[in-house]
Symmetry: C2
Subunit: 444 residues, 2 copies
């Protein structure tokens, strides 16, 4: 993409309304525009990041055997009356009347609707286990939306719903999502630590939040430092096999949000030098809630003996739009964002340090074409901005590889390559840059 | 994907509420479930089709130089008061009040919001031309939603918005979208014929609807038969070059919807044997509306001489969810859907005609693995259903390539391959099937 043809409205000033760094940087980097309180438009740079996050979430859900569908944003109020949550939900639910005065709502979550879909079609234990998910916009009418996409009102969430014949099956489904989440966040360059958590309005008696440690996080967390260094299950993990050793490894070390924190146990189980007490950002939460929805909504299947069985369910959320903010909270410096490669809007940026110079122009054009031909998603800063401005923009928007093409080094057949993550610089020939970046994803 | 692990709730009976064939087939094939009047959940098979349609639309928008972003579903009422459309829009607009009694609406289209985004950032003619698009759920509160996704209330639309300094520029932008639309629908296996049309609530004085001819279409259309055989611009079309020869070729032949039909001109211009009068389905519409939104909303840029200029705009819609229905209306027979390859939910299906037979099971497993390894998106019907039922399901869901693996032909080292589009059958070795389907997309 040529920057001269892209839409990247960089802000020079720090926007006053932004209280936290991710919100500030998303506005400054031209990723986001507020359209109403807690309601945002994702400008092209932000949209690219959102899509990359979404795709990682999707791939890991599919790998774990979940099936994607897509439920609508609006739901019938009557559906929520069946579960008893319509009246219980409170003012965070956006309630709507259509032209015929039928009561609708903008879905804040989808336990009721997916249970309705399930019970309409699935009649036998033979069709279990089943895990259905979607990635869809939700709405929660927060009293005081703030922190940009971290606590927006209209937000993109992945929510999966599992259906099993009994608690043992449901726990296997829970474990699959647990492992899928470990992989999902790790692929985005995050440490998403599973911590015991309260179940809140979803209900049930077993839940983990996946927490990214960050000073700016909304909740206090406590954990054993060793949990931060546990190995992430590989892509080859067998989701049909026994996942309990992985779950045991991750849950045997203390990790809890402040809501369920047990100070006495913390001190008894964790040596003083390994006690971590900090803040964290919730990026996902998983629930086992048994028959909480299937019972009132009559989601029954015929069991092996022919008798009807109420299915056991769980639900599994990932905050897709929130993750864009969470990643920035975890990956930035004073100059701007430092995108991990897998979610970067562009993998590399070419900075033409002398726009209009015939040598630099020719070298940049050639490098641009060669990188595109290798499948590298590259941005070419071909604007008239001066070198200093180009450096600042590249740092602000956080592209992992910056390739600086200036007349002096070019005379020696070289360009300068800076990696945004660590600021390291090296001189390379354009051919070496193409070979290095073209070599699949193993360059990080 | 193994069918035994997929969620494909086939209906045996024709659903009574479905008045047209696409609605009936989408329900029967387990693609769709109605959640409220005109509001649908896309089940996994339908979701896959929707995503393929969306991706073709995206690729052709990007090829034409449009930039993707994503605006929210909800908008502020005040934004629509600026253009004067808030009061004009009528009961089709879903109006919402949030917990603080602020007036919102569920966007039926986005001219106002994109103009607000544009004017916030773009200040100079140097940043033009610009074309921004998104693919987002919209809502129109139809008095009487029907025909499934063909006239739903919550629907997925691609809408692009162009910004130019003057009318000449805006017409170039219009021409780019015109060409992109020709390619978009052709790639889906459709003849999407551009026809002169009314501008309706979007406004302006130049508009084309893209119409798929179908007896079940909602509107009458008139055209010269020769327009049906015009060549589609190739992928290599130069969007920066002069597109007027393509536009002239397509617009010099008579083609108009009944709203703007001119009987006298039709008879004068079109020889009797080339006059087509039939019905059609609108799958896209493009508008040039000049300063209709930029004037009241003050979207101005500094021109080359420094004076402020009101920009000229156009908008360009594609009915992404509606297309799933339109394609079925155009591509089906009594047995079910006949998906064009580019939008098929799976490219091929393997039918194990003797599930549990060691030879057929082994051959199917091998074929399944080999096709996956070649990147072929294949469904494996590994269920216990009898052969007749498997044939019926494969025809109903419309997979382009059916590979039937039965003991008799397998004894001779062959499988039977049926192409759904024409019903042709041929005996092939499994290796030949893999080679044929593995050879990229040139197999159709």
């Amino acid at each position: 993409m040529r920057l001269s043809r892209f839409f990247l409205p960089i802000l020079k000033e720090n926007p006053k309304e932004a209280e936290i760094v991710s919100h500030r940087l998303m506005l400054r980097a031209g990723m986001l525009r507020q359209e109403a309180a807690g309601i945002y438009a994702w400008l092209p740079l932000g949209f690219k990041v959102l899509k990359k996050i979404e795709q990682i979430v999707r791939e890991e859900q599919n790998r774990a055997g979940a099936l994607e569908l897509l439920m609508p944003t609006l739901q019938l109020a009557d559906l929520w009356r069946e579960s008893g949550r319509y009246d219980a939900y409170g003012p965070e639910m956006l309630r709507i009347a259509d032209r015929h005065k039928r009561e609708l709502l903008y879905g804040p979550t989808n336990e009721e609707m997916i249970t309705e879909i399930f019970r309409a079609y699935v009649k036998s234990y033979r069709n279990l286990p089943l895990n259905l998910y979607h990635i869809q916009w939700k709405f929660r009418d927060e009293q005081r939306p703030r922190f940009g996409v971290m606590r927006g009102r209209e937000f993109l969430m992945k929510d999966a719903y599992s259906f099993d014949l009994d608690e043992a099956g449901a726990r296997r489904a829970y474990n699959k999502m647990f492992v899928a989440y470990l992989r999902t966040f790790a692929r985005m360059g995050l440490k998403g630590i599973p911590m015991r958590a309260e179940t809140g309005p979803i209900g049930g008696d077993l839940s983990h939040e996946f927490i990214v440690l960050a000073e700016t996080g909304e909740s206090g967390v406590y954990c054993d430092r060793n949990v931060l260094d546990l190995p992430i299950p590989p892509a080859s993990v067998d989701y049909d096999g026994d996942l309990t050793p992985i779950i045991k490894e991750w849950t045997s070390l203390y990790a809890a949000t402040e809501d369920v924190h047990d100070g006495a146990r913390f001190e008894a189980e964790v040596p003083a030098d390994r006690r971590v007490h900090t803040r964290g950002i919730e990026v996902g939460q998983i629930f086992y809630f048994g028959t909480k929805y299937s019972e009132p909504m009559k989601a029954l299947v015929a069991g092996p003996d022919g008798a009807e069985v109420t299915i056991h369910g769980g639900s599994y959320g990932v905050g897709v739009s929130r993750l864009a903010g969470a990643i920035i909270e975890a990956c930035h410096d004073d100059a701007g964002i430092k995108w991990p490669e897998e979610v970067a809007p562009f993998r590399a940026v070419i900075l033409n340090l002398k726009q209009g110079g015939s040598d630099t122009d020719a070298a940049c054009e050639q490098l641009y074409r060669d990188l595109l031909a290798k499948g590298v998603d590259v941005l070419y800063d071909d604007t008239e901005q001066r070198a200093g401005g180009k450096f600042a923009t590249a740092d602000l928007i956080g592209i992992p590889w910056q390739i600086m093409v200036g007349p002096k080094s070019l005379a020696e057949g070289k360009v300068e390559v800076k990696t945004r993550s660590d600021g390291a610089r090296q001189m390379m020939t354009p051919a070496d840059v193409v070979a290095r970046l073209g070599a699949a994803t193993s360059v990080g």
